[in-house]
């Protein structure tokens, strides 16, 4: 028989499969895909994946699990499902738009788990977090410079470790790891210079497994492998052991005139919520928000422009709630106007010893709130009250006047009024705003620009305030705010207290002809 006709009678499908087995280069296609290159190799990958033999499908699936950090389910689906392939393609392309790339296909899996289908253009988020774009005169930091800055951040975090023994161990280990490479500690500018001139040292640091563990423990589970990137994907386990997807975006830029570094960033993740009827759902939240702004760069419109740029992102990517830590001196006070303490998030930050003491009460929101008030909020509040009153009273020269103010501040406010609020707080029934409002009408205290209480005649005294404000400043606490339309309108109302629209619009230079 004529072999040509024999060849012609082989079905089209089988012919293509033969080509597939002869091979397009699978690993090459995956590498191209990760960098957002969707040319020939990737096209062939997608075309042939549906035609693979069972054997090859298994082999390639195993490759994806072993080398690309994919789960078995994702690996299988990726080789068969055109829609998932398109999602991965879009994610990779979007990252390429921001000069980023996937480190593994497993990162695409995390992104697919985190975002709804159709919401793959995450470069919109990455671009919105660019300090260079948001503020004037800044130069973006990239790659090794970002890695160096992150190591310096890591060093700073050591100061916040609660157990001195653990703090000492971590500090010594980091110092030793750097010394091995002939480097001083991470916050030394000479160290940063040395790392930049020899980036291989950064790779060597990355290979230190224990250092990786310390880095993850101090920087919210992030990985040194992504130290030089502006976006990072990883899984985080929640209390029930469930894996939740996390995307972390953070960008740095430097003011060349002052060398001060600005950074913008936040994390998007899913949280399991138990509805009143006992069913569960996943909600998308933002947390670990970083907005560190160079003083000079912050000029006329950047603040509102930055917040406005977050609004469409909240809408588009379906972010339902935001978690913020208020602990800057004045932040602790301002946030009390917007929200109350979020008890479950605060419980998550408790040390193991505290959690043991709290015990089963952790599940009772009122009792947990009372515990946190008693151990984490009120002691510092009381100390701050005493310091503020002390500084103020000390500045009064006239003894009669001083006695009068002592009566007012100590007897009436600190002992009587605060006593009532403390009772409420220890029953788990006080809001942060109750504390912040203490002595609202007596604005006798003065603060410098860093939020420290100073005597009224001190030339550094820039801002005035009342006792509750002075006492609450600098106390760290977590606030959760919903990000629905109504909730965002609600935050504005709380901050502007039902301000007349006309006045608002006039401030904008817009006049409406109303009524």
């Amino acid at each position: 028989m004529d072999t040509t006709s024999e060849a012609a009678r082989i079905p089209e499908k089988a012919k293509k499969t033969k080509d597939a087995q002869k091979g397009f280069e699978f690993t090459g296609a995956i590498e191209d895909l990760k960098t957002g290159e969707i040319g020939g190799n990737v096209k062939r990958l997608f075309e042939f994946s549906s035609l693979l033999s069972k054997d090859n499908r298994t082999k390639l699936g195993e490759h994806l699990q072993r080398y690309e950090a994919c789960s078995p389910e994702f690996a299988t689906k990726f080789l068969a499902d055109r829609r998932l392939q398109n999602r991965v393609k879009k994610i990779a392309q979007s990252l390429a738009e921001s000069d980023e790339r996937l480190l593994s296909l497993g990162e695409a899996e995390i992104c697919c788990d985190l975002m709804e289908p159709g919401k793959e253009d995450i470069s919109q988020i990455i671009e919105a977090m660019s300090p260079k774009k948001q503020f004037k005169g800044l130069v973006e930091l990239k790659g090794p410079q970002v890695a160096g800055k992150r190591l310096a951040d890591l060093w700073e975090q050591l100061k916040y470790i609660t157990d001195p023994e653990q703090g000492r161990e971590a500090t010594e280990y980091i110092q030793a790891a750097f010394k091995k490479l002939g480097l001083g500690p991470p916050n030394d500018p000479a160290t940063l210079e040395a790392l930049l001139s020899d980036p291989k040292k950064i790779d060597l640091l990355k290979r230190d497994k224990y250092l990786q563990d310390i880095y993850a423990a101090l920087l919210d589970d992030r990985s040194m492998d992504s130290m030089d990137r502006s976006v990072e994907f990883y899984w985080r386990k929640d209390e029930s052991g469930e894996k939740l997807p996390v995307m972390y975006v953070e960008r740095y830029a430097v003011n060349p005139k002052t060398e001060s570094v600005s950074k913008l960033g936040f994390e998007i993740t899913l949280e399991t919520e138990v509805r009143p009827d006992g069913t569960k759902r996943k909600k998308r939240i933002m947390q670990n928000v970083m907005i560190v702004i160079d003083e000079q760069a912050r000029g006329s419109n950047e603040g509102s422009q930055f917040l406005l740029s977050l609004m469409p992102i909240i809408n588009k990517f379906g972010i339902e709630e935001g978690e913020f830590v208020a602990n800057l001196k004045i932040g602790s006070y301002n946030w009390t106007k917007i929200a109350d303490m979020d008890v479950p998030s605060m419980v998550k930050t408790l040390s193991n010893e505290d959690l043991k003491d709290l015990g089963k009460d952790a599940e009772d929101e009122k009792k947990a709130k009372a515990f946190i008030m008693q151990h984490k909020i009120l002691p510092t509040f009381e100390k701050n009250m005493a310091i503020a009153i002390g500084i103020f009273l000390h500045s009064i020269k006239n003894p009669g006047e001083r006695q009068k103010m002592e009566q007012k501040l100590v007897k009436e406010l600190m002992e009587k009024e605060y006593g009532k609020i403390k009772e409420k707080a220890l029953a788990g029934e006080a809001a942060m705003e109750d504390l912040a409002n203490l002595g609202k009408d007596l604005r006798v205290f003065r603060f410098d620009e860093d939020g420290h209480v100073v005597a009224p005649d001190n030339p550094k005294a820039k801002i005035e305030g009342h006792l509750g404000k002075a006492a609450i400043m600098g106390i760290p606490w977590k606030a959760r705010v919903p990000l629905t339309r109504e909730a965002r309108f609600g935050m504005i109302e709380k901050l502007q207290r039902g301000s007349p629209i006309k006045a608002l619009m006039q401030k904008m230079g817009i006049l409406f002809n109303i009524g």
Partner: protein
């Protein structure tokens, strides 16, 4: 590995420097008490965004919020504003009579 840390926050000027970082200016800027009209700008954006809301229940939540947080005259002004700027088939137009 779990390392217990005190809560930190990185919001504002000098936020990443311990002991510093109070940033009154940041919060003035955030809440619009400074010279820049931050809050009005966000309010305007939210008004424009409200046009996209199809669910009457969600629109009602905003109207209820305003009714609680503003005085009678201001509420009337805001309703008049919505009357002007909400598109013809917006749920607002079916709800507005409940607030007369």
């Amino acid at each position: 590995m779990k390392i217990n840390k005190n809560l930190t926050s990185q919001l504002g000027r000098n936020a990443d420097q311990p002991g510093k970082g109070s940033d009154f200016a940041f919060y003035d800027w955030l809440q619009g008490t400074d010279k820049q009209p931050t809050l009005p700008k966000i309010f305007l954006w939210l008004l424009d965004d409200l046009k996209e809301e199809n669910d009457p229940a969600e629109v009602k939540k905003v109207l209820d919020l305003w009714q609680q947080s503003t005085d009678i005259n201001e509420f009337k002004n805001r309703m008049a504003l919505l009357e002007k700027i909400m598109p013809p088939h917006h749920p607002f137009h079916n709800l507005k009579n409940e607030y007369k």
